[in-house]
Amino acid sequence: MTELSVSVLGSALATPFGTSIEVNCDALFRGADTFRTPQHFDSKGRLLGIDPELDQPIGRSESRAVTLLMKLRDALPFRIPAEDTMLFLSTTVGAIDLLERGKVCDTAAVLLDEAARIFGVSRAVLVSAACASGQTAVSLAMEQLAGNGCRHALVIGCDIASEFVTAGFAALGACTDTICRPYDAGRDGLTLGEAAAALLLSRSGNGFGRILRAAENCDAAHITAPDLEGKVLSRAIRQTLSDESVLGGVIGHGTGTVYNDQAEVSALRRIFPDSPPPLFSLKGNYGHTLGATGVLQLVLGLEFSRRGELPGQAGLRTPMPGASASGEIRKLKSKRLLSLNVGFGGLNSAVLLEAL
């Protein structure tokens, strides 16, 4: 567990809703979604959370993931400190569209090199922990800041919706034929999406928010399925909540698959058996943005915390048993929010944040 809290000096995102955090947040509170049929590949009729600006043919040597990173850079509302800044890139498959068009390369490493160039940071680390990559990258950044490994940390999450990943999740039977319904009793699979998000963290300074604690662990049970009883995930949650403060809500991983959502709800019930805090997932709006989702959850979580409200759950019809999800907007009882990531390999991550 990483205990020393860090300041959030800046945040940014690039999603199908645009590059304004306020506009994105407003869309979530309206219950809007980004799902459409992609034009740049055949998704076999599946809807995806697609960025219309990126949904067009590009050159053989270009990657939509790099374009997405450049869009994020152009939207940064903060200056990246020139001195002693370390870049942590969270991605699962990186510039995978290069491989789709015949360029054999380490697609995640390509995106790491491009990210270092685009953001002008010389010391860069790729962090890959499947769909828990985003929050794992934040946790690693917190450790480097706490131990004086760097003065500032720029954490970026980025993944695109691709034929490669769509075919893979479809092969596993993980995709819904309609749209994902996180925490719904009738949920039947995930919808893929794409996004990039960034956090500028510092050990000190006048930030607008704080990342208070982070913890990761591994179920060590099954390579693709989470532990449905949520035992190990609940340990990570408990570690991040080690003080007595009230928790305002939970931004869950909430992919809309039967197994993921059950594991999360079981884990939360172990900690909060009587009255679990309000639960919400971004996946009903953006789809599953893979390596971007952890960073995106924290960027938007800080905005929810600032506003003191949690959006209604998009896609929800009837909450699954035990899930404290709701289609209604809910007032937060505390500014402290918990964010969860769960990934293949049984990887779990919990992060506690608050807006100041």
Partner: protein
């Protein structure tokens, strides 16, 4: 940060341990797995998915068990497992994609897709040994000093750190103190197997 144990499996299936020395040469991963099952110092592992795993998965599972055996005591459940640099999963990505294209872009194969994440070998190693600490893969510049800077600031505890290259699989068991540390006295190496050979020669 202390290196407590280590294992190296070379391209020719020669197996060497940091503390216990050479273990011998084997014909293939399955022969090595059978040998380990019968050797007392090596921990009982869950080999359920061994035959199904891709070559990096099989070698990493073996390297993890070998390193735990070289340590000589049961690894605590809280032990973390990290992957670093190496070949990544380009070969696995290509295998899944070519198979999907060859089958008319209609149906991919789930088993091949799972292998396209660089953390999968390290997740399988954690399952094999029941290790529930943090688990992730990092790519940095090719420098064991850079890896040390990254790992030494993790919370105190034991961590398996491995690298799968085209020529070898190497894994170390590290003990992190949780306190700020002096700079490494070891020379800098681009890969873990080079560090292993250096430590082996120093111990000889």
């Amino acid at each position: 940060m202390k290196i407590k144990a280590g294992a190296l499996i070379t391209e020719t299936m020669e197996v060497r341990l940091l503390n216990r020395g050479p273990l011998g040469r084997f014909d293939d991963p399955d022969q090595l797995r059978h040998a380990l099952t019968n050797l007392v110092p090596f921990p009982t592992a869950d080999w359920t998915d061994f035959g199904r795993g891709s070559p990096p998965v099989r070698f990493l599972m073996l390297a993890a068990v070998l390193t735990a055996g070289d340590y000589g005591a049961p690894l605590p459940e809280s032990t973390g497992v990290f992957g670093w640099n190496g070949a990544g999963c380009t070969a696995e990505n290509l295998r899944f994609w070519q198979d999907y294209v060859q089958h008319g872009r209609e149906n991919g194969r789930g088993g091949l897709f799972v292998a396209t994440l660089p953390t999968i070998p390290f997740g399988e190693a954690a399952i094999a040994l029941g290790l529930r600490g943090p688990n992730a893969y990092f790519r940095t510049e090719k420098s064991t000093h850079e890896l040390r800077k990254l790992i030494s600031l993790r919370p105190a505890g034991l961590y398996l750190v491995g690298e799968v290259t085209e020529n070898s699989v190497c894994m170390f068991l590290l003990e992190i103190s949780g306190r700020p540390e002096e700079k490494s006295a070891e020379p800098d190496f681009p890969t873990l197997d080079r560090l292993f050979v250096h430590l082996e020669n120093r111990n000889a």
